[in-house]
Chain length 337, copies 2
DNA sequence: ATTGGCACTCGAAGCAGTGGAGTGCCAATG
DNA sequence: CATTGGCACTCCACTGCTTCGAGTGCCAAT
């Protein structure tokens, strides 16, 4: 089929360009791939592909490189899944299993993902909003100061120190603590708001102002705009691709330092793998890059995102596989704890 | 004095080179600085300075650039302190005061320091070893699984989940918890080891194996080889200096991703500002950079380090001032909490 | 539709020539 | 004896030129 061959040509161009990072010409293409036709035919196909916007020439008399649209067609219709080897899977599993706490899990994951994909890796902390409260602790620091510690079932620990409007005794604190504990433990963080509003009313008037402040602080810690955190790793890999980005890599590095930006990248993840290629990217400074992200969680519930950022000419099948695998093992680890 | 003028020349060379990043010649020197002598004289002085190893020529017929030794002489004998403006101090203070917890303080500090110095900033979490235990919590996750949460007075929170060799009841946990709490609260983390050894003996034989595991896990969390953490920010600033590093910046970025390396950089800080210039640096991949670091803490005790990494031709006086200032405010914040 | 052939384009690489900033050295000077 | 003006020399950065070759588009033939 004629149409089929054109797609095969596109695939070949993408593959060659990804591996060599040099514009690929008709002649070298027939040499490297058994396409069964001559270079002249390929040239015709290329002309059509260029008309349709899948490939482009940096300048006349140069080979072709895929456009964002070309990569899009590649990932949508041409690339199979590239399963990870058993050894790789085992390496992931072993590496993550050694983690001692959530911080460690996050740090190890991001490092691991950066290492396998040789790109910049992102891992988001499990969302508090999606978690349930495992434990709540109140420690009296001084007469008018209290430390709140919230422990979620996802392993997250949030702390806030609270300045009280009036002194509280040890007994006051113990009372509030035990009441608050029974009120919130086992609850979804997202549902804390309504539940705690009425809680304040049930407390003795004398300490009500203090309780109000405490509850407010607790809620503040669990609203999702504040509590999101993303860790980043493998920025050194960007340097290897220095010349790959249309713009220099300074704006890319800068964008990656903004938590807000990272959250946007991982913001709309679901169970499936999301792929953003070049200009499809919502962040302007990253429109020379591709972002591959997915969600992870316990069972079906997606509690956070994980992904990588790299040049548009990345190894999509391999990267997708790696991101999925890490997400999968992250979910498994959350389940275990 | 003859010697004095030579030093003045060195200072002028360093200052010019830092601001222009181009080799500086004898003629442009006399134009930009009121040295009161002719360029020929400067040339003689330069020849001497070069013999003594303070400056070097990239090639014949080019101007001079300072060597590591030259910068060393500059910081040791030539640069005064450049005090920060009141506005700057206020900005630091305000920015850090808005932090809601320790993670936030660390994140804000590193960001702030990177912004002021326009270089890569490092901030180390307060060492647990130097802290005292503020609170300890044990949460029963299942019959054979317990979550330990240790809260230190520096604001650090460490968690470990522990697999027990045999099931424990809620009552067991409550008992161990209360005994353990009284044993460790208010203690220096560093002194936990000896204190807890005997603790195990005091517990009922039936649960002793479990307690042993718990105590071991607790100690594991507080030994300093594990518990050290450093946050990093402003890597984008490296890109601006791309050509400044003899070697490309990839190895530099790579080195900065190694926690171990970062710890070495901040490892030997004291109350004074430590300056490592170029080859003086203990980390091979960073011998094209300078590191300026100092310690911070509550009162006199140094609980962690803070610093920046940048090109050898950095603005030493300004950077030193910024690092000191941030360290100072960090200490103040620790004191408050 | 495919193919071989051919003229054409245009960047990359190599090479000479020039300009200028900077140096080292020297003889003269207060 | 430190300082200075003068001068010859060096060598990089830049420019313009040429060559080379990979790659293209088009066309006539099959």
């Amino acid at each position: 089929m004629l149409e089929d061959r054109r797609l095969a040509v596109l695939r070949a161009i993408v593959e060659d360009y990804v591996s060599t990072r040099e514009p690929v010409g008709s002649k070298s293409l027939v040499e490297r791939h058994a396409l069964g036709v001559s270079s002249a035919t390929i040239r015709n196909d290329m002309a059509v592909l260029e008309d349709e916007g899948y490939i482009a020439q940096p300048h006349t008399s140069a080979g072709r490189i895929p456009t964002d649209l070309g990569y899009r067609a590649f990932v949508d219709r041409l690339s199979g899944v590239k399963p990870m080897s058993g050894a790789e899977r085992r390496a992931i599993s072993n590496f993550l299993a050694g983690a001692v706490d959530l911080d460690d899990v996050m740090a190890r994951s991001v490092r691991l993902l950066a290492q396998i994909t040789r790109q910049v890796a992102l891992v988001q902390y499990p969302s508090l909003v999606q978690s349930t409260v495992l434990h709540l602790e109140m420690v009296r620091l001084s007469e008018t100061r209290i430390l709140l510690v919230l422990i979620a079932d996802t392993g997250r620990v949030e702390q806030r120190s609270v300045d009280l409007p009036s002194p509280m005794t040890d007994e006051d604190v113990a009372l509030v603590r035990s009441r608050l504990v029974t009120a919130v433990i086992g609850q979804k963080c997202a549902e804390l708001g309504p539940r705690l509003e009425s809680f304040v009313e049930t407390m003795d008037v004398a300490i009500r102002p203090s309780v109000t402040v405490i509850v407010a602080s607790l809620l503040d810690a669990t609203i999702d705009t504040v509590e999101q955190r993303v860790v980043l790793g493998g920025t050194a890999n960007l340097a290897r691709y220095r010349d790959s980005f249309a713009t220099n890599l300074e704006p890319v590095l800068e964008a990656l330092e903004e938590q807000v930006v990272l959250l946007r990248l991982l913001g709309e993840v679901s169970g499936d793998v999301t792929i953003r290629i070049g200009h499809e990217n919502p962040v302007e400074d990253l429109q020379g890059t591709s972002v591959i992200a997915t969600g992870y969680g316990r069972g079906d519930a997606v509690v956070a995102g994980v992904g990588v950022v790299g040049p548009t000419h990345m190894d999509y099948p391999g990267t997708i596989a790696a991101v999925s695998a890490v997400a999968q093992y992250l979910g498994r680890i959350l389940d275990e704890n």
